[in-house]
């Protein structure tokens, strides 16, 4: 322990405190890939980094299209199918098609056979941030033990019920709390969570506007 500390203070001189992505380990020049390899969060960071380098040279291949289709079942109950997508310049098929169901709860006079779509949005945000935490922790050489996100979103349903035009349909605010056990300092954990927001697609989708075009028949 004492030795580790001594080494650390020697290394400190080389840190880049103004680093743009807050990755302490990467900035210490003594860190080696072997130290990083000891950490296993099940994320193949080398593949991700490789993809990054490759796509920097070929921005066309970075153009993806994600798809879902949805079939009405009955009442407010529906079933979405998620299968192929487009990316890396080609159609990408999967071995299986995933299904995701949605419904509304009994307080809305529905059958409650599946979560509501807005809860699926919350779970999408949670999963996206959580995956980000794992990937960034791997990249930074931080071993995770557990990651748990709890989400809560405010909604004034006067909006969707058309009672008050000034009330929006969607969330008024979303609060996310992460409970993370990891071999890292509190600030390093906070930095993981902050960086995962910075790189998250769903976080961007919910915090920034997007053009939506809907057609029929």
């Amino acid at each position: 322990m004492g030795e580790r500390k001594a080494r650390k203070s020697r290394v400190r001189r080389f840190t880049n405190p103004l680093t743009s992505d807050l990755s302490p380990k990467e900035n210490e020049m003594t860190i080696t890939t072997s130290a990083r390899a000891k950490v296993n969060n099940g994320v193949n960071v080398d593949a991700l980094l490789g993809a990054r380098t490759a796509l920097e040279q070929a921005p066309e291949a970075a153009q993806f299209k994600w798809r879902a289709s949805c079939e009405w079942v009955n009442g407010t109950h529906s079933r979405s199918a998620i299968g192929s997508f487009f990316g890396l310049g080609a159609e990408q098929s999967r071995n299986k098609t995933f299904t995701v169901e949605a419904d509304h709860p009994q307080v809305f006079a529905s059958e409650d056979s599946a979560p509501t779509p807005v809860e699926l949005v919350l779970s999408g945000l949670a999963s996206c941030l959580t995956a980000g935490v794992a990937a960034i922790a791997q990249r930074r050489g931080i071993q995770l033990h557990s990651v748990r996100a709890s989400l809560e979103a405010d909604m004034d349903i006067q909006g969707i019920l058309g009672i008050d035009d000034e009330v929006r349909n969607g969330f008024g605010a979303i609060r996310v709390h992460f409970d993370i056990r990891a071999d890292a300092s509190e600030d390093d954990i906070k930095a993981l969570v902050a960086q995962s927001q910075r790189r998250s697609a769903v976080f961007d989708i919910v915090t920034n506007p997007t053009n939506v075009f809907v057609t029929a028949n």
Partner: protein, 414 residues
């Protein structure tokens, strides 16, 4: 056609420092300047601006600030005088009023067209500055015609702004400085905050620039970083201001002064602005980064054994943007009369007819060495060192590049 072995385009600190280093190597050269020495500081800065780097840090090859206020911050007339003095002391061979309009490759060098005729040279040093143009996001096109749109390159003082509130986009050095002064003039100010680098003016009794200098942060080289250098180069400028009172201006102090803080502008249509909901995270990131810098200062102090010379370590209040941040604004209802795009600056290479720009219009270079024979660039963010775009960074970069240039000349001669 006139000839010089090397032509330096631009007589700011970068061009002057390069001229000094070429002179010490007896390399015949000329500096072509479209305006006069220190033109950018003279013509492209607002009235109240002072340097955010202290006087002692205005160091150039063979020259440094020698006044009696080393910890003060120069006004623009003082910076201009400082550089004019340097130009005359170093006897830099400057041709003023010579605007370079085109540079083309020729067999053994370059042809440099200017409004004062053409030059030929073997080596070309681009020292035209990193901040010729304001970078404005595309969505600016959605601004209603009624609202004036300007950049920090055009802004002079609050009195010259159209009536009404002011929406300032960008909260780096320029944005926070303008927000502070325009708010103090009694205007409504809405500040749109994207990624930013929060720093206190002083820490443990010393200026933050002093700390970054002593711990070596400003000298970090571009080729020793494990981190992606391009990301470090895109880092926004530091949230700092130089004032005689040495005030810290951050989002907390601006908020207290009545500046309304909102997230990044992400939409502008039908007279309404939309702001990103990511403000809280960007503030958290900035706080974490600031604390990381303060920790490395503390570590340096502890390791140096000088802890008793400085006040005890401490941390600043986290940025508080509350939980009620607005995500939309009707510019008309809010009485916004102008928008200032403090969204960064970029160089202008429209005169450079040599294929060295990448797909985003940035010049390709390896620490200032451009991939075209004999072309060098100066003064870009983190070009060779973190300090490359600062006055204090011109000397080391010019020394390195002049050595490279001289070596190549000798090789060609041998």
């Amino acid at each position: 056609m006139k000839f010089a072995t090397a032509i330096i385009v631009g007589a700011g600190q970068s061009g002057l420092a390069m001229s000094w280093h070429l002179s010490t190597r007896s390399i015949d050269h000329v500096v072509l300047e479209r305006g006069e020495v220190a033109n950018s500081w003279l013509k492209e800065r607002w009235d109240s601006l002072r340097l955010l780097t202290p006087n002692w840090q205005s160091r150039l090859p063979g020259y440094a600030y020698s006044g009696d206020d080393p910890d003060g911050f120069m006004t623009m007339p003082e910076v201009v005088r400082f550089l004019h003095q340097y130009a005359s002391l170093s006897r830099a061979p400057i041709v003023t009023g010579a605007r370079v309009t085109r540079v083309r490759q020729q067999e053994a060098g370059y042809e440099v067209e200017t409004n004062l005729g053409a030059w030929r040279c073997r080596k070309l040093v681009i020292a035209t500055g990193a901040c010729n143009l304001a970078s404005i996001p595309q969505l600016a096109a959605g601004l209603p015609a009624r609202v004036a749109s300007l950049t920090p390159l055009q802004y002079r003082n609050p009195g010259l702004l159209p009536d009404g509130g002011v929406m300032i986009v960008g909260a780096s050095a320029s944005g926070i400085q303008l927000a502070r002064e325009i708010r103090a003039a009694g205007r409504r100010v809405v500040l749109c905050v994207g990624e930013h680098v929060r720093l206190p003016r002083t820490y443990r009794g010393r200026d933050i620039q002093w700390w970054m200098d002593v711990i070596g942060a400003m000298d970090v080289r571009y080729d020793t970083m494990e981190e992606d250098i391009e990301r470090a180069r895109r880092l926004p400028s530091l949230q700092l201001i130089g004032t005689p009172e040495r005030v810290t201006v951050d989002l907390n102090s601006l908020g207290k002064a009545g500046v309304e803080l909102v997230g990044r502008v992400v939409g502008l249509a039908d007279g309404k602005a939309q702001f990103s909901g990511s403000l809280a995270n960007l503030c958290a990131l900035a706080d974490l980064k600031m604390n990381r810098l303060l920790s490395s200062i503390d570590d340096w102090v502890n390791a140096s054994g000088l802890a008793q010379q400085f006040p005890a370590p401490h941390r600043f209040e986290p940025t508080d943007v509350g939980s009620q941040t607005r995500i939309g604004l009707d510019l008309n209802d809010a009485g916004i009369g102008s928008v200032i795009w403090a969204t960064g600056y970029r160089p202008d290479y429209s005169w450079l007819d040599v294929p060295v720009l990448d797909r985003k219009g940035r010049i390709r270079h390896d620490g200032g060495i451009v991939p075209a024979p004999g072309i060098y660039v100066m003064g870009l963010p983190f070009m060779r060192r973190r300090k490359s775009s600062f006055i204090d960074g011109a000397d080391d970069d010019a020394a390195d590049l002049a050595a490279h240039l001289g070596h190549n000349l000798n090789r060609a001669a041998a």
